[in-house]
Symmetry: C2
Subunit: 226 residues, 2 copies
DNA sequence: CCATTTCTTGACCAAGTGGTCAGGATGTTT
DNA sequence: AAACATCCTGACCACTTGGTCAAGAAATGG
């Protein structure tokens, strides 16, 4: 009795000339992208596998076939985002120029937010909810990452290349200011009355942030040490 | 058949000496507080009336009796938060001292995030999800609020009291930097290795932000105009 | 005292949840 | 063509969802 009408088989049309295992890759990509959107928008609890499946244009069972479970899918997305994160500003040294490094930091963080706004928001939603899946990462890897860079900022300050500001607060300042344009995009667009941020806008914001933050920290640019 | 055992009436104990209508007030307060926590943590979709009821220590039906619907409850919380928002930096003029005003702005925004972290996160979750309930507010009221203040910053710049930075980006910078400590609390605590931020921490952060941002914008303090 | 209004809450409902599974479709190898 | 592995998906399951409702409990007013 519970047979839906019109449920006869409609064979999935396949883009011409991809008989190989490319289907799997394409479907996975599609699912990950769709899931990133849905999780970012509604959080872990608020997202439904059904919604993700619809966004990816696949049946729910298929999504679960590829990804195993909702939780597994979510974790995989977080890991992908963390990998992008870790690639940021990976090698700096006391010998580098503070102005260059800080500008590169601001710029690359800004571009991460711009290139992966959904991933950025996914991460934000996870933290907002108390970081149930990322506790370990925050207290481990990321903490080390921060303190390694903080140490370098301190050494720069000691050498008189910038003001002796607290380097951890400085990192948070840069994170928050750049993250803002992904996470609060709806607010930024609403207030500025645009419907997207252009490349030129992003460039302008980057320049603004670089200028204010570098000046605010008294960074002396391109000078040899005494 | 579906009768749970142990479901006999357990009369709700009532705090001594509050026979009046104080019960209603107290229950409402309890529900709003619980709902703010749950919505902040899980977003609108991810929050369940059941979870809110449990957090408030009331049966689900009672929550719905007081609040009408999940949506109504959510909207009421948003409105409460917007009211707190609007009270911020309500009257400033070109005649005021930029340094004082900007510091007051940073300080009061910081304290809003500190005093109402759940409300802050609730707001963040709403924006993160594309601001489905706040579109109008963002494009109306809040936009006007921002542009009114932006105009004043511009006039200060014209009078040489600060650098000619884009005032809207400046407001976003202050918002994001302060908001960060509520919204990303889990991250801040994880990285700094604390389990709460003390008043002293907040004071230190406020001082840091004030110093960097004011210096970064070249704000000249307490000077009469030419 | 009774009458009326306001509160309170378990039972219930249709719809949606994450996840399983059987069985057919498709692809690959021989 | 036969054999085997992989892929795909509708039907189904137990459970949760937001919301309604009726029946009773308390408070209030005369």
């Amino acid at each position: 009795m519970s047979q839906l009408p019109g449920a006869e088989r409609v064979p999935r049309l396949r883009e011409a000339g991809e008989g190989n295992g490319a289907t799997r890759a394409r479907n996975e990509r599609e699912i990950l992208a769709a899931a990133e959107r849905v999780f970012a928008r509604h959080g872990y609890r608020g997202a439904s596998v059904q919604a993700i499946a619809e966004a990816a244009g696949l049946p729910k069972s298929n999504v679960l076939y590829y990804m195993g479970s909702k939780r597994g899918l979510y974790v995989r997305l977080l890991e992908r985002m963390m990998a992008r994160w870790n690639a940021l500003l990976d090698d700096i040294s006391v010998e580098d120029d503070p102005a260059e490094v800080l500008e590169a930091f601001i710029r690359s963080k800004m571009q991460l937010s711009r290139r992966h706004p959904e991933g950025s928001r996914l991460f934000a939603a996870e933290i907002l909810g108390g970081a149930p899946f990322l506790q370990e990462y925050l207290r481990g890897e990321l903490r080390d990452w921060v303190h390694a860079r903080a140490r370098i900022f301190e050494q720069w300050a000691e050498r008189g290349l910038m003001d002796p500001v607290d380097p951890v607060w400085l990192i948070f300042l840069i994170w928050s200011a750049t993250q803002h344009y992904a996470d609060f995009e709806a607010q930024v667009l609403g207030i500025t009355g645009r419907d997207t941020l252009s490349d030129a806008d992003v460039e302008e914001i980057t320049a603004f942030l670089t200028r204010v933050i570098l000046k605010g920290c008294g960074v002396r640019s391109r000078q040899a040490e005494a």
